[in-house]
């Protein structure tokens, strides 16, 4: 319903040839992106690009690696060295990439299923090793691209195409998993918290070590629809209502339970030697600098 205002509406002018400020980081020949109306992936993408801009990072020194799924399409839209890899294998690919070219800033962008089901093993080991990469996980609580199947973060009771009677499996608490696996920077935001998400991404990009940010996003086409969450706007309103910002909270207590308040913010921000730092230290010990 259009909002009726008392004031007369200002008239816009049409200005040709203007460019969105983030365009320099986008493959504009690939736009508009394929994500649904209301999907949070576009917000995650723009937050990432604003972070790059504000940090003034040389775009030639950033490489993006994505997996398979809606989030996996991220790599195709950024005008950076970008790699759209196989399902679940973005993190080990990124590991190889980083170890072969350590001055690259390597960012992994993928979804909850890709990173934590098929990719789960790679996630925990890269976190354990403290590989210096930043992993951005867009969590929409199902496998969106393939039609809305259950995933490792689907809440109990969630209706998906492969849990038509309601999911009875307990989901992962991603920030807890990341922290206990050894990630040295762990944060969670929703796509509503776009600006705070951007700030977190900036922190993560400058933080040496395995950085993990969970980005909770609406999925109006699949998860949202099947679970009668309304449209994407309703899902965002739900975040406004239920998300509680609490930095430094214990990740073990940060479960996302439907209907209850859930914690967002920064959970872990510590410094431990990265894989390469340890590797080089060892090599120096053995063979000299």
């Amino acid at each position: 319903m259009p909002v009726v205002k008392a004031k007369p509406k200002p008239k816009p002018e049409v200005v040709p040839g203007v460019r969105h400020p983030s365009e320099k980081y986008l493959r504009t020949d690939r736009l508009p992106h394929i994500w649904c109306s209301g999907c949070g992936l576009g917000i995650a993408l723009s937050s990432f690009l604003y972070a790059l801009e504000e940090l003034e990072i040389d775009p030639d020194s950033v490489a993006v690696v994505s997996g398979i799924g809606c989030a996996g399409r991220f790599a195709g839209y950024v005008r950076l060295d970008s790699y759209h890899t196989t399902h679940g294998r973005a993190i080990p690919f990124a590991t190889g990439l980083k170890l072969a070219k350590p001055d690259l800033k390597v960012v992994v962008f993928s979804g909850d299923g890709d990173l934590f089901a098929i990719g789960g093993n790679h996630f925990i080991h890269a976190a354990r090793r403290n590989i210096d990469i930043t992993v951005l996980c867009v969590n929409n609580f199902n496998y969106g691209m393939t039609g809305g199947q259950v995933g490792p973060t689907t809440p109990v009771g969630g209706r998906t195409t492969t849990t038509p009677y309601g999911n009875f499996e307990h989901p992962f608490n991603l920030v807890y998993l990341a922290a206990s696996a050894g990630a040295t920077y762990v944060a969670r935001w929703t796509t509503l918290h776009a600006r705070r998400l951007k700030e977190s991404i900036k922190e993560a990009l400058q933080h040496p070590g395995f950085n993990f940010i969970e980005i909770i996003s609406p999925c109006p086409t699949n998860f949202g629809r099947r679970n009668r969450l309304g449209d994407a706007l309703d899902e965002m309103r739900y975040y406004a209502e239920k998300a509680v910002i609490r930095h430094g909270a214990d990740p073990a207590e940060a479960e996302v339970i439907v209907g209850k308040e859930f914690i967002v913010g920064k959970f872990v921000d510590i410094r431990k030697p990265t894989y390469l730092e340890l590797y080089h230290k060892k090599v120096e010990e053995l063979f000299g600098p």
Binding site: K5, V15, V18, P32, C36, G40, K198, R237
Partner: protein, 103 residues
């Protein structure tokens, strides 16, 4: 159906030239300009719902994709918080700060 020409059509139709050739709508707001690529908008409603000052509202008309884009209804209320820019998933709306004297 699957001829090479069909493929080219599909590629060019899919790519959006809006950011280069077509124009953006631009409103003067309190501290500068608000730009909107109307036909890029997918009508999610985030910008006008979450604008803290009520600057935007859903327009009555449809854009080329069949969505209701936003429009500025109260330009003076804008405080350049840039939340609409931050929360738009489509790179369709953004702001530019400009001093009054450079109008």
């Amino acid at each position: 159906m699957n001829t090479k020409k069909g493929a080219e059509d599909r590629v060019t139709r899919h790519a959006s030239p809006v950011t280069h050739k077509e124009g953006a709508k631009r409103w003067r707001v309190a501290k500068g300009y608000l730009y909107l690529l109307e036909d890029t908008c997918k009508g999610c409603g985030f910008c006008h719902t979450f604008c803290p000052k009520g600057v935007l509202a859903q327009a009555e008309h449809f854009n080329a994709k069949g969505y209701h884009p936003p429009e500025v209804v109260d330009a003076d209320a804008c405080v350049m918080c840039r939340f609409c820019e931050a929360v738009c998933p489509e790179f369709a709306i953004w702001l530019e700060e400009k001093e009054e004297s450079h109008d």
